[in-house]
């Protein structure tokens, strides 16, 4: 129902979004995962018709959104990365104002306002000024406002940045409920992989403006399924042991980490016996062995050679 084709945005010196193809089916929950500056915000702001793309198209139910933004606007709920609220007003006043802006009035307005405030769990504190809210509560009202006009699709730009675990949990559960119970389509942006892992049916991983991988969580981790990671804890680092491991044809890669060595080996290669044998030969004392199942973090590391967050 929502689709982008070769969507691209170039700022003066830099390609922020580089020919991104993405689609969303009705009722789906899709995650957009990427580190700071990956181009996530720029990408979704093009989908939301707030930024004009340099090239490429966005379609909503087959209709070109870039030519006519009003095709998508009424059905779109947008949660900006910033707290887009008037902080000197109360939460209630904020929500009500945006309700009026969406042409709600009278009983219907009051009813919707109460519904969304209740949804984000701030009914008892709605009369307080947004300024006096905690970061998490501000984020929740920020989401509430986007839900006022009962959108079909909600786009959330890092809605959990910099907040306490409780609020974060609350928001994640809420989004899950909206998606599963109300059938709302969700595009969720984050640089926390746990969030998209927990929330999303499909995931796009983005870096430097490009989508570098896409699929379900299992498909993505499947990229690494032909390999596994063995973490060896050693009493102390041993150069000779490390060299000996490198010589082994079945060991694909050896890297040092603070407590010992990390090996990447083909899956099910039954390499452990050989490793222990070598350790004995070179008198390296292994204190612990851990075979790692790949996570999205590893996928990202594998694809880019960098971690999602430092």
């Amino acid at each position: 129902m929502l689709e982008t084709e070769a969507l691209r945005k170039v700022f003066k010196k830099q390609v922020a979004v580089d020919d991104v193809n993405l689609y969303l089916k009705q009722g789906e929950s899709v995650g957009l995962l990427g580190p700071n500056g990956a181009g996530k915000s720029t990408f979704i702001s093009m989908i939301a018709t707030l930024t004009k793309p340099t090239s490429g198209i966005v379609t909503w139910n087959g209709k070109n959104v870039i030519k006519n933004p009003n095709i998508i606007r009424p059905t779109l709920g947008m949660v900006p990365q910033e707290i887009a609220l008037y902080k000197e007003l109360s939460a209630y006043e904020n929500v009500k104002f945006f309700g009026k802006i969406y042409r709600l009035h009278g009983k219907k307005l009051e009813q919707r306002v109460q519904e969304v405030i209740e949804l984000v769990g701030l009914k008892d504190r709605q009369k307080e000024l947004v300024n006096n809210y905690s970061g998490g509560m501000q984020r929740r009202i920020n989401i509430a406002v986007a839900l006022l006009h009962e959108p079909e699709i909600i786009i959330m730009d890092e809605p959990t940045v910099g907040i306490d675990p409780q609020s974060r949990n609350y928001i994640l559960e809420m989004v899950k409920k909206l998606n599963e119970e109300k059938g709302m389509t969700v595009l969720y942006t984050s640089h926390y992989m746990e969030e998209v892992e927990r929330l999303c049916d499909r995931i796009y991983i983005m870096d430097h403006g490009k989508v570098i991988a896409t699929g379900t969580k299992d498909e993505l981790t499947g990229i690494l399924s032909s390999e596994e990671t063995i973490n060896l804890e050693l009493e102390q680092q041993s150069k000779v042991f490390e060299e000996a491991l490198r010589e082994q044809s079945t060991v694909l890669k050896v890297t040092e980490w603070e407590k010992g060595l990390r090996l990447i080996v083909p899956k099910n290669s039954r390499e452990l016996a050989g490793i222990f044998h070598l350790a004995e030969q070179y008198q390296a004392a292994i204190t612990s062995v851990n075979i790692q199942v790949p996570s999205l973090e590893d996928v990202f590391l594998h694809l880019t050679g960098r971690r999602l967050r430092d």
């Binding site: 702001s45 939301a48 018709t49 707030l50 606007r73 009424p74 779109l76 947008m78 900006p80 990365q81 910033e82 707290i83 887009a84 609220l85 008037y86 000197e88 007003l89 006043e93 104002f97 945006f98 009026k100 802006i101 969406y102 042409r103 000024l129 406002v145």
Partner: protein, 366 residues
Amino acid sequence: MINIFTLQWQRLRRKPFMVLAMIAMTVVFIIFIGGATNQSEVSIPTSFSDEFPAEDKAALIEELNELEGFNFIETTYHKARENIALGIASFGVRLSEEDYRFIIGTENPNQAIVEQYISSIYWENLRIDQAVEQSGDEQTRQSIETSLERPLIEVDSQIGESEGDVFIFNNQLQALFGMTLFFAIYTIVFSLGEVAEEKQRGSWDRLVLSPVRKWQVYLGYLSYAFVIGLVQIFAVFAMFQFFFGFDIGGKWLEVLLICVVYTFAIVSLGMLIIGLVNRSSQLNAIVPIIAVSMAMLGGAYWPIEIVSNKVVLAFSQVIPVTHAMEALKSITIYGENLTDITQPLSILLLMGVLCMGIGINLMERR
């Protein structure tokens, strides 16, 4: 549009500090500038040449002292020089029967005012003297003098002319108008600055995505800035008229019209400024610079009439403050009518339309 307009008032109620501070500053500055000089008049040591008839001295001094804000004090030439040299007075005058001379210590804007006034008196006396000489009759002098005091229609127009040449300086109203117009710039432009802030905060995006049209959003903000500016100006005017005993005169409708047009011009100018800078931090830096230079060049701090520099005068023509000050003073101090101020008003309107057009265009370009 109404929603956005009322939202701003709702926000103002919670955060009235900026507007109240601007009004308070206006009041303080007016009292300081307008009040201070009015209590202590400018003293001018006045000496006479030796051949000046002693019996006429008192009459001339009295005539001179009709000039508001100045006190002519009779003294000797020697004493006058001494006072000026010591800096007690910045200038003095030495009067002869046919002409007068200035004794100048330091340059002083008041000098031009005094000069014009004295010269008008001398011209008047000269004309009477000539008339007397021609008829050779002392009675003619008396009849001319009485008719000047209770003038006939023809004579009246002559007096009107000679008085029109004199630049009347009303320090109270100068300070009132100048400071009010000056501080209103801050309130208006900073109120509009909310648009820039809104864009930074992202709530602008919400408005863009909503069914509200963009021009309605702009109109909401513009009308708010307009009303708050006008309210501030009028609140100060009313306060000084009714509680501080300033005399703006009865032409409130004309004054209102001038303020409406001026506020419109400043709102538009604000739009232009916001179109040029996009961050509110930049706005905070640039607004004082613009407001202060406009006030200086536009005669809000001191009367533009005392400026003689051609470049400055030319510059002042493109500044809204100049024309608003001119119009306000015409109506209140010089007692002119609406028809006399159509020129400054149309210039202000033109400026407003131009700035608004360019400003909105610049904003939408981004």
